[in-house]
Amino acid sequence: MSERVPTTQAAPAAPARVQRRRRGLLRTYLTPKQAIPRSARLVLGIGSFVVIITLWSVGSALINNPLFLPSIPRVGTAWIDMWQHQHFLGDVAWSTFRIVAGFLIAAAMAVPLGLLMGSFEVVRSFFQPPINAIRYMPASAFIVLLIVLLGLGEEEKLTLIWIGVFFQLVLMVMDIAHRVPDEMLNVAYTLGASRWKVFYKVFLPATFPEVVDALRITMGWAWTYLIVAELLGAERGIGTFIIISERFLRMDRIIAAIITIGILGLITDTIFGLIHRWAFPYVEKVHA
């Protein structure tokens, strides 16, 4: 036996400090799909905000005209003022109501239809061609039509959100349903399940996690259509607030309102994420 082979029987020496081997910096950070240290991820994540804030601060100082680019403190003050004195909470409430209502109506129709389209070729062959065509029509192009047909009330706004969400979501859900592996269903048949049982005991649960993912994505799009709808004639709402601020050349309020939309979006996204983790603990994580 060579002397260099360590033996396990040897008395344990004082644990030597394990020297982590490292590659060069370039290799560590610029190899495609290679994980980077956690600390570096954190620094980069915070760094991006630092860059944005710096650019904004420098930019607003250079321009020195709040009509074009107000400074960060100015936007912050405006934001606080909006909640305290401009009834911004009411606008947020109206927008949230429209989003939730329009999205729920669209989802309640798109999910069942998408599941049916993904599982029954009969349903798919009938619905897919028109939906495919309509999907390419920008929802905002329907606004004028909707105003003529439905007026400037809530129906018009909810319908616009519905158009924006429904046609996309239905096709996403259809794909999800279509991807359920045949073998998963076939096993159930060979275990004695009827077609109905295969449908609700295997097919439906197999689609749930991805359907929630699809809802999460389309919810983000719903915000776009909501603001568009509100920009064109609404009594209250974040979009309305933006258009009124424009009339008074209050860039600080506009920016503050836009940031609020971002925050609301993050909150809904987090809620969906929590629901997903709570309801589907069995899903294998694809990415960290």
Binding site: E183, N186, V187, A188, T190, L191, A206, V283
Partner: protein, 263 residues
């Protein structure tokens, strides 16, 4: 008594380039309690044959009889195990195993008793409440086999069940399966392209031809039961293997030639 019998089964399907004859004149009978293996070159239609037996696919001609009754649609009398495990990721190991029993509305206490027994038998102790995502490939396939066995089928159909496993795990699974068979004495129809696996497990091996798939040779495996892995090195095993390899090689060459001729 549960016997599965193929009577003149043929499978053809139309494609744009004309009719494909996948299976031709398949007639064979697996008597009660026999372990039958089907081997053949890839694309010979051996998996299709199993799907027909399961009732998932209707043959163009002929029929499959289970104890004399035609099997036109899938049923709990023919349990199936796929290569891809096909476990239900939202159910725990225990509930996966109990799936067929739940369909049958077996009372809960009885379900629990049976699944506990199978979990122990399949060496899955401690994993009863785990989700499939926590299991290795070999464990997943043990759950899938347990799920099929829990339903107490007349015939067990296995479609390359160990094909996705690494060589060592596969060997352990083969030993486990032969022990299980010794215990339950189910009629098994086992499709594989692994020759050693077919010899180790089977009482009889059906060697299929290149497309259109036919039964070219039937080979009785006269190795003693119960089997253990040291048999793999026995001279008789080597003889059988040479026989099968020769025939399969010939068929594979034909397949390559016919592909070249078509190109």
């Amino acid at each position: 008594m549960s016997e599965i019998r193929f009577v003149d089964v043929a499978m053809r399907y139309p494609t744009r380039r004309g009719e494909v004859r996948a299976l031709q004149q398949i007639s064979l009978a697996v008597p009660d309690g026999q372990f039958a293996c089907i081997v053949g070159p890839s694309g010979c239609g051996k998996s299709t044959l199993l799907s027909i037996a399961a009732g998932l696919v209707l043959p163009t001609e002929g029929e499959v009889l289970v104890d004399g009754k035609p099997a036109y649609s899938p049923g709990p009398d023919r349990g199936m195990v796929f290569q891809s495990y096909s476990l239900y990721p939202w159910l725990s190991v225990r509930r996966n195993i109990e799936f067929g029993l739940e369909i049958k509305r077996t009372p809960k206490s009885e379900r629990t008793r049976q699944s506990s027994e199978l979990i122990h038998l399949m060496k899955l102790d401690g994993f009863a409440e785990a989700f499939p995502k926590a299991l290795s490939g070999g464990m997943k396939q043990r759950v899938a086999i347990a799920r099929a066995l829990a339903n107490d089928p007349e015939v067990l159909l296995m479609d390359e069940p160990f094909g996705a496993l690494d060589a060592l795990t596969r060997q352990i699974m083969q030993e486990l399966l032969t022990d299980l068979w010794q215990r339950y004495r189910k009629t098994v129809l086992f499709v594989t392209h692994d020759i050693d696996e077919a010899i180790f497990l089977g009482d009889v091996i059906y060697i299929m031809t290149n497309r259109p798939g036919r039964i070219r040779t039937t080979l009785n495996v006269d190795l003693p039961r119960p089997r253990s892995f040291d048999m793999v090195t026995s001279p008789r095993f080597a003889e059988l293997r040479n026989q099968v390899v020769g025939i399969i090689h010939e068929e594979s060459m034909k397949a390559v030639e016919s592909e070249l001729a078509r190109a």
